[in-house]
């Protein structure tokens, strides 16, 4: 466990070193979305019985827990390709699984930080969310899932540029389509069926329901957990393969 902690500790030192920049960058896009969509579409819209603002904030929470968790991929990349720090982990008596645990824990921490930033912003816009076990659980599982995906990505890509391709082609589309900005049932049936396969769709649903005091479908949690298990295992294999 000491080894995982070393990996986690390193990420935290880096996070702490630029904490103000981090918080500012975590705040920028939610603030824009809240201002642009929230204010503009504001009070008149009724979405599944809530104001658009109440609908949007949990969506932003889901989105941030994904993007912030995934952002550790670029941290890993920088340390791997620029500072060659990954070698230090590879040559230390650190099991592959310990490495992945450390990075995923860092991903969860980042996600929780970003979510806290959003909740504070939302408060300024008059939206309060209920913080309960379902809510935090969904965020943590979602972050763990995308933290694992981030490790996989960081191990597979050959450069920093490849990394941003993954972000543009997978993460950003999912961030917009995964039930974050609008309810899925407004989409055509076929599209809906596809979007229901995205993990973020389920995370957004679980987070939104619990944030407003409801009990989310446990199926969403089960699905997220299974996907997390799959990606976590693949991540371990990829770390091992990165040896060549």
């Amino acid at each position: 466990m000491n080894g995982s902690f070393a990996v986690y500790y390193r990420e935290m030192v880096i996070l702490k070193r630029k904490i103000f920049k981090q918080i500012a960058s975590m705040a920028v896009s939610p603030l824009l979305y809240l201002a642009a969509f929230g204010f503009a579409m504001g009070r008149d819209f009724d979405m599944d019985g809530m104001t658009y603002m109440q609908f949007l904030v949990p969506g932003l929470v889901a989105m941030a827990s994904m993007t912030q968790a995934f952002s550790i991929a670029s941290e890993i990349n920088i340390s791997r390709f620029y500072w060659h720090i990954f070698e230090e982990f590879q040559s230390a008596p650190l099991a592959n699984v310990q490495y992945v645990i450390g990075e995923v824990a860092a991903a969860i921490t980042r996600a929780l930080l970003a979510v806290s930033v959003i909740m504070v912003l939302a408060l300024c816009f008059g939206v309060t969310l209920s913080i309960n076990l379902y809510f935090v659980g969904a965020i943590v599982i979602n972050a763990a899932l995308f933290g694992s995906v981030a490790v996989i990505c960081a191990m597979l890509v050959k450069s920093h540029a490849d990394q941003s391709l993954v972000t543009s082609f997978i993460i950003t589309p999912m961030a917009f389509l995964g039930g974050t900005f609008f309810p899925l049932d407004r989409m055509p049936g076929a599209v809906q069926a596809i979007l229901k396969l995205l993990p973020l769709t389920h995370a957004a649903k679980a987070i939104r329901t619990s944030a407003h005091g409801g009990v989310p479908p446990l199926f969403s949690y089960a699905l997220l957990l299974v996907l997390f298990g799959v990606f976590f295992s693949i991540a371990i294999i990829c770390v091992n393969k990165a040896r060549n």
Binding site: G3, R17, I85, E87, S91, A92, N244
Partner: protein, 315 residues
């Protein structure tokens, strides 16, 4: 010298696509030995160390560190070693102390142990006052010293040093040599790669000459030089330099007399002569910046070897 085999390499092969980087390397390094691995650029020195430290897998063959298989008992094998890589691999955004502290954690050291080892080893490499400095604010030579402190702080039984003094000025190189010697005196087994032939000559108990992925010869520096005869005569003819070897200086000088040349040097044989004779290569490669005209870095400041008399002659 060889009590027990601390590093054992058998039939190691490594292919990178078409490049056959290691072609059946066999090596046994005993406990407490300081072993130098010499070879020109691309001969496979780094590849060997990368395999031994689990950064890459061999295509074929096996290696053992203190009896632990690098492939089958990876974590145990890695527990035995400290590594100083050929390139700088420190965390630039972190302080010296944070870099070392993370390393200590990776090797399972407790908080107190780490704090003590960090102080002790920063002292050891004369960096006690730089504990809180960010790595990016250090010069290349200081970074190397941090890397050496990091490689030693968990008191590994085996230390790999991949060109630890490359690009450093002579006074810092000397200093690093003393750290290396001290680590050996403290009981570590050391595998060192270098381009600086005098580094191997000065430090090593034994050397291996590596050439395009195969070991050509393994012996002590003294034995290798003794095989050559004690004195070398370099004669220059319109830019071509040829070297011959003699038992005594008188013989070398006598031979120089009755010949056609534009210049000659009589000097003590050094390890590079042995290297060139064994591998047929002109030089060990990207050697010391201060290269002497006959292509061998002069050995200096140590027990054997040393400068011969330099005479300029002409007809």
């Amino acid at each position: 010298m060889i009590n027990q085999s601390m590093i054992k390499i058998s039939n190691l092969h490594k292919r990178f696509g078409k490049v056959h980087a290691l072609r059946g390397v066999n090596l046994n390094i005993g406990e407490g030995e300081l072993f130098a691995y010499l070879g020109p650029n691309g001969s496979g020195k780094t590849t060997t160390i990368r395999i031994l430290t689990s950064l890459t897998n061999p295509t074929e063959g096996e290696a053992f560190l203190n009896g632990y298989s690098v492939l089958k008992q990876r974590l145990d094998a890695k527990m035995q070693c400290g590594v100083v890589a050929q390139h700088i691999n420190l965390d630039n955004e972190l302080t010296v102390e944070e870099n070392l502290s993370i390393h200590g954690m990776l090797f399972g050291m407790g908080k107190k142990d780490r704090a003590k080892a960090i102080d002790e080893f920063l002292e050891y490499v004369d960096l006690a006052d730089r504990k809180k400095t960010l790595i990016k604010q250090l010069s290349g030579g200081l970074k190397r010293r941090v890397m050496i402190a990091r490689a030693l702080m968990h008191r590994p039984k085996i230390v790999f040093l991949d060109e630890p003094t490359v690009g450093l000025d002579p006074s810092i190189r000397r200093k690093i040599w003393s750290f290396i010697k001290k680590a050996q005196n403290d009981g570590a087994t050391i595998l060192l790669t270098t381009h600086y032939i005098e580094e191997a000559e000065f430090l090593a108990d034994r050397v291996a000459f590596l050439d395009t992925g195969s070991i050509v010869v393994i012996d002590s520096p003294q034995n290798l030089m003794d095989r050559m005869g004690a004195w070398a005569l370099d004669t220059m003819n319109n830019g071509d330099i040829s070297t011959e070897y003699f038992k005594s200086r008188e013989q070398a000088e006598a031979s120089a007399k009755g010949r056609q040349y534009t210049g000659f040097t009589v000097r003590r044989v050094n390890l590079e002569d042995a290297f060139i004779a064994q591998t047929g290569k002109k030089t060990i490669g990207e050697a010391a910046p201060a290269k002497s005209p006959h292509g061998g870095a002069h050995s200096s400041g140590h027990g054997h070897g040393g400068h011969g008399s330099h005479q300029k002659g002409g007809h």
